[in-house]
Protein backbone atom coordinates (compact mmCIF):
# COMPACT_ATOMS: atom_id res chain seq x y z
CA UNK A 1 0.00 0.00 0.00
CA UNK A 2 2.49 2.63 -1.10
CA UNK A 3 1.26 6.20 -1.21
CA UNK A 4 1.85 8.82 -3.85
CA UNK A 5 5.53 9.27 -4.60
CA UNK A 6 7.29 12.15 -6.30
CA UNK A 7 10.79 12.63 -7.62
CA UNK A 8 13.10 14.32 -7.23
CA UNK A 9 12.41 15.61 -3.73
CA UNK A 10 14.54 18.66 -4.43
CA UNK A 11 15.63 20.23 -7.70
CA UNK A 12 17.88 23.22 -8.17
CA UNK A 13 18.15 24.51 -11.71
CA UNK A 14 19.46 27.54 -13.52
CA UNK A 15 17.12 30.06 -15.04
CA UNK A 16 16.31 29.13 -18.62
CA UNK A 17 16.78 25.38 -18.20
CA UNK A 18 13.97 22.82 -18.56
CA UNK A 19 12.94 20.57 -15.69
CA UNK A 20 10.84 17.42 -15.41
CA UNK A 21 9.04 16.44 -12.24
CA UNK A 22 7.63 12.97 -11.78
CA UNK A 23 4.60 11.65 -9.93
CA UNK A 24 3.68 8.03 -9.22
CA UNK A 25 0.07 7.92 -8.02
CA UNK A 26 -1.47 5.25 -5.83
CA UNK A 27 -2.01 2.11 -7.86
CA UNK A 28 -5.53 1.97 -9.28
CA UNK A 29 -6.24 5.66 -8.77
CA UNK A 30 -7.70 7.03 -11.97
CA UNK A 31 -7.50 10.74 -11.20
CA UNK A 32 -4.28 12.72 -10.81
CA UNK A 33 -3.76 16.37 -9.92
CA UNK A 34 -0.77 18.70 -9.97
CA UNK A 35 -0.59 21.72 -7.67
CA UNK A 36 1.95 24.41 -7.00
CA UNK A 37 2.60 25.79 -3.51
CA UNK A 38 4.63 28.93 -3.11
CA UNK A 39 6.20 29.79 0.24
CA UNK A 40 3.54 30.45 2.85
CA UNK A 41 0.73 30.07 0.36
CA UNK A 42 -2.08 27.67 -0.31
CA UNK A 43 -2.17 25.19 -3.14
CA UNK A 44 -2.66 26.45 -6.67
CA UNK A 45 -4.31 24.00 -9.07
CA UNK A 46 -2.34 23.34 -12.24
CA UNK A 47 -3.75 20.36 -14.15
CA UNK A 48 -6.10 17.38 -13.69
CA UNK A 49 -6.10 13.99 -15.41
CA UNK A 50 -9.02 11.57 -15.21
CA UNK A 51 -8.76 8.21 -16.94
CA UNK A 52 -8.55 8.58 -20.70
CA UNK A 53 -10.35 11.92 -20.79
CA UNK A 54 -8.66 15.06 -22.05
CA UNK A 55 -6.85 16.72 -19.14
CA UNK A 56 -8.12 19.91 -17.54
CA UNK A 57 -5.22 22.29 -18.12
CA UNK A 58 -7.01 25.41 -16.95
CA UNK A 59 -4.59 26.06 -14.09
CA UNK A 60 -1.34 26.00 -16.05
CA UNK A 61 0.14 29.50 -15.65
CA UNK A 62 1.83 29.71 -19.06
CA UNK A 63 2.65 27.66 -22.14
CA UNK A 64 6.04 26.87 -20.56
CA UNK A 65 4.18 24.39 -18.37
CA UNK A 66 2.96 21.05 -19.67
CA UNK A 67 2.14 17.65 -18.25
CA UNK A 68 1.44 14.20 -19.50
CA UNK A 69 0.25 10.98 -18.00
CA UNK A 70 1.40 7.78 -19.61
CA UNK A 71 -0.65 4.60 -19.43
CA UNK A 72 -3.02 6.16 -16.96
CA UNK A 73 -0.43 5.97 -14.21
CA UNK A 74 2.83 7.94 -13.94
CA UNK A 75 2.70 11.65 -14.71
CA UNK A 76 5.42 14.10 -15.65
CA UNK A 77 5.19 17.85 -15.22
CA UNK A 78 7.58 19.73 -17.50
CA UNK A 79 8.57 23.36 -17.09
CA UNK A 80 10.47 24.82 -20.01
CA UNK A 81 12.80 27.82 -19.83
CA UNK A 82 12.40 28.05 -16.05
CA UNK A 83 12.08 31.44 -14.40
CA UNK A 84 12.79 32.43 -10.81
CA UNK A 85 9.07 32.84 -10.14
CA UNK A 86 8.66 29.13 -10.89
CA UNK A 87 10.42 28.36 -7.60
CA UNK A 88 7.89 26.55 -5.43
CA UNK A 89 6.90 23.14 -4.14
CA UNK A 90 5.09 21.10 -6.77
CA UNK A 91 2.60 18.63 -5.30
CA UNK A 92 0.87 15.73 -6.92
CA UNK A 93 -2.31 14.07 -5.65
CA UNK A 94 -4.42 11.15 -6.77
CA UNK A 95 -7.96 9.95 -6.11
CA UNK A 96 -9.75 6.70 -6.67
CA UNK A 97 -12.25 8.02 -9.15
CA UNK A 98 -13.50 11.18 -10.83
CA UNK A 99 -14.19 14.17 -8.63
CA UNK A 100 -12.10 16.03 -6.12
CA UNK A 101 -12.84 13.71 -3.22
CA UNK A 102 -10.19 12.85 -0.64
CA UNK A 103 -7.08 13.51 -2.65
CA UNK A 104 -3.96 11.72 -1.46
CA UNK A 105 -0.87 13.88 -1.75
CA UNK A 106 2.73 13.06 -2.39
CA UNK A 107 5.56 14.72 -0.47
CA UNK A 108 6.20 17.24 -3.23
CA UNK A 109 9.20 18.39 -5.24
CA UNK A 110 10.88 21.58 -4.07
CA UNK A 111 12.03 23.46 -7.17
CA UNK A 112 14.54 26.28 -6.84
CA UNK A 113 15.43 28.32 -9.90
CA UNK A 114 18.64 30.32 -9.50
Amino acid sequence: GAGVSQSPSNKVTEKGKDVELRCDPISGHTALYWYRQSLGQGLEFLIYFQGNSAPDKSGLPSDRFSAERTGGSVSTLTIQRTQQEDSAVYLCASTQGPGPYEQYFGPGTRLTVT
Binding site: Q41, G42, A93, F105, G106
Partner: protein, 110 residues
Protein backbone atom coordinates in the same frame (compact mmCIF):
# COMPACT_ATOMS: atom_id res chain seq x y z
CA UNK B 1 -9.33 32.44 8.05
CA UNK B 2 -7.66 33.45 4.84
CA UNK B 3 -4.24 34.94 4.59
CA UNK B 4 -2.81 38.01 2.96
CA UNK B 5 0.51 37.40 1.28
CA UNK B 6 2.92 35.52 3.50
CA UNK B 7 1.22 36.41 6.75
CA UNK B 8 -0.81 33.33 7.50
CA UNK B 9 -3.16 33.64 10.45
CA UNK B 10 -1.78 31.85 13.47
CA UNK B 11 -3.68 30.16 16.26
CA UNK B 12 -1.76 29.43 19.45
CA UNK B 13 -3.34 27.07 21.93
CA UNK B 14 -2.29 25.41 25.14
CA UNK B 15 -1.81 21.66 25.04
CA UNK B 16 -5.01 19.98 26.12
CA UNK B 17 -7.26 22.84 25.09
CA UNK B 18 -9.65 22.68 22.15
CA UNK B 19 -8.76 24.41 18.88
CA UNK B 20 -11.10 25.98 16.37
CA UNK B 21 -9.84 26.87 12.92
CA UNK B 22 -12.14 28.86 10.67
CA UNK B 23 -12.45 29.16 6.93
CA UNK B 24 -14.66 31.22 4.64
CA UNK B 25 -15.42 29.77 1.24
CA UNK B 26 -16.54 31.49 -1.90
CA UNK B 27 -18.60 29.16 -4.05
CA UNK B 28 -22.19 28.70 -2.91
CA UNK B 29 -22.47 25.80 -5.39
CA UNK B 30 -19.68 23.81 -3.73
CA UNK B 31 -20.96 20.42 -2.62
CA UNK B 32 -17.86 19.09 -0.93
CA UNK B 33 -15.42 20.46 1.61
CA UNK B 34 -12.26 19.05 3.08
CA UNK B 35 -9.63 19.84 5.68
CA UNK B 36 -5.97 19.02 5.29
CA UNK B 37 -3.04 19.19 7.70
CA UNK B 38 0.41 19.97 6.39
CA UNK B 39 3.53 19.53 8.46
CA UNK B 40 6.77 21.19 7.47
CA UNK B 41 8.38 19.54 4.45
CA UNK B 42 5.49 17.16 3.85
CA UNK B 43 2.52 16.96 1.56
CA UNK B 44 -0.98 17.74 2.86
CA UNK B 45 -2.62 14.97 4.85
CA UNK B 46 -6.38 14.35 4.81
CA UNK B 47 -8.13 15.08 8.11
CA UNK B 48 -11.87 15.09 7.50
CA UNK B 49 -14.38 15.96 4.82
CA UNK B 50 -18.05 16.90 4.63
CA UNK B 51 -20.65 17.12 1.91
CA UNK B 52 -23.02 20.03 1.57
CA UNK B 53 -26.05 17.98 2.65
CA UNK B 54 -24.59 17.81 6.16
CA UNK B 55 -23.79 20.51 8.69
CA UNK B 56 -21.60 18.51 11.04
CA UNK B 57 -19.32 15.53 10.85
CA UNK B 58 -17.14 14.01 13.53
CA UNK B 59 -13.96 12.03 13.36
CA UNK B 60 -11.41 11.03 15.92
CA UNK B 61 -10.82 14.19 18.02
CA UNK B 62 -11.92 16.36 15.09
CA UNK B 63 -15.25 17.86 14.09
CA UNK B 64 -16.07 19.81 10.96
CA UNK B 65 -18.96 22.26 10.97
CA UNK B 66 -20.49 23.67 7.81
CA UNK B 67 -22.68 26.78 7.74
CA UNK B 68 -23.90 27.21 4.19
CA UNK B 69 -25.90 30.32 5.03
CA UNK B 70 -22.76 32.33 5.67
CA UNK B 71 -20.40 30.12 3.66
CA UNK B 72 -18.31 29.22 6.67
CA UNK B 73 -16.43 26.07 7.55
CA UNK B 74 -14.69 25.28 10.80
CA UNK B 75 -12.45 22.55 12.13
CA UNK B 76 -12.53 21.75 15.81
CA UNK B 77 -9.72 19.73 17.37
CA UNK B 78 -10.37 18.37 20.83
CA UNK B 79 -7.62 18.09 23.45
CA UNK B 80 -4.99 19.60 21.17
CA UNK B 81 -1.63 17.85 21.26
CA UNK B 82 1.87 19.02 20.25
CA UNK B 83 1.66 16.72 17.23
CA UNK B 84 -1.25 18.80 15.96
CA UNK B 85 1.10 21.71 15.26
CA UNK B 86 0.96 22.27 11.51
CA UNK B 87 -0.63 24.40 8.80
CA UNK B 88 -4.30 23.59 8.24
CA UNK B 89 -6.00 24.14 4.89
CA UNK B 90 -9.64 24.10 4.03
CA UNK B 91 -10.69 23.38 0.45
CA UNK B 92 -13.97 23.56 -1.43
CA UNK B 93 -14.98 21.72 -4.57
CA UNK B 94 -15.28 23.50 -7.89
CA UNK B 95 -16.40 20.78 -10.26
CA UNK B 96 -13.68 18.13 -10.28
CA UNK B 97 -11.18 20.42 -8.60
CA UNK B 98 -10.46 21.59 -5.10
CA UNK B 99 -9.83 25.26 -4.39
CA UNK B 100 -7.67 25.72 -1.31
CA UNK B 101 -7.57 28.50 1.21
CA UNK B 102 -4.19 29.94 2.13
CA UNK B 103 -4.01 28.12 5.45
CA UNK B 104 -3.88 28.71 9.19
CA UNK B 105 -0.87 27.93 11.36
CA UNK B 106 -1.69 26.04 14.55
CA UNK B 107 0.92 26.26 17.30
CA UNK B 108 0.49 24.12 20.38
CA UNK B 109 2.18 25.30 23.56
CA UNK B 110 3.28 22.68 26.04
Amino acid sequence: GESVGLHLPTLSVQEGDNSIINCAYSNSASDYFIWYKQESGKGPQFIIDIRSNMDKRQGQRVTVLLNKTVKHLSLQIAATQPGDSAVYFCAESHGNKLVFGAGTILRVKS
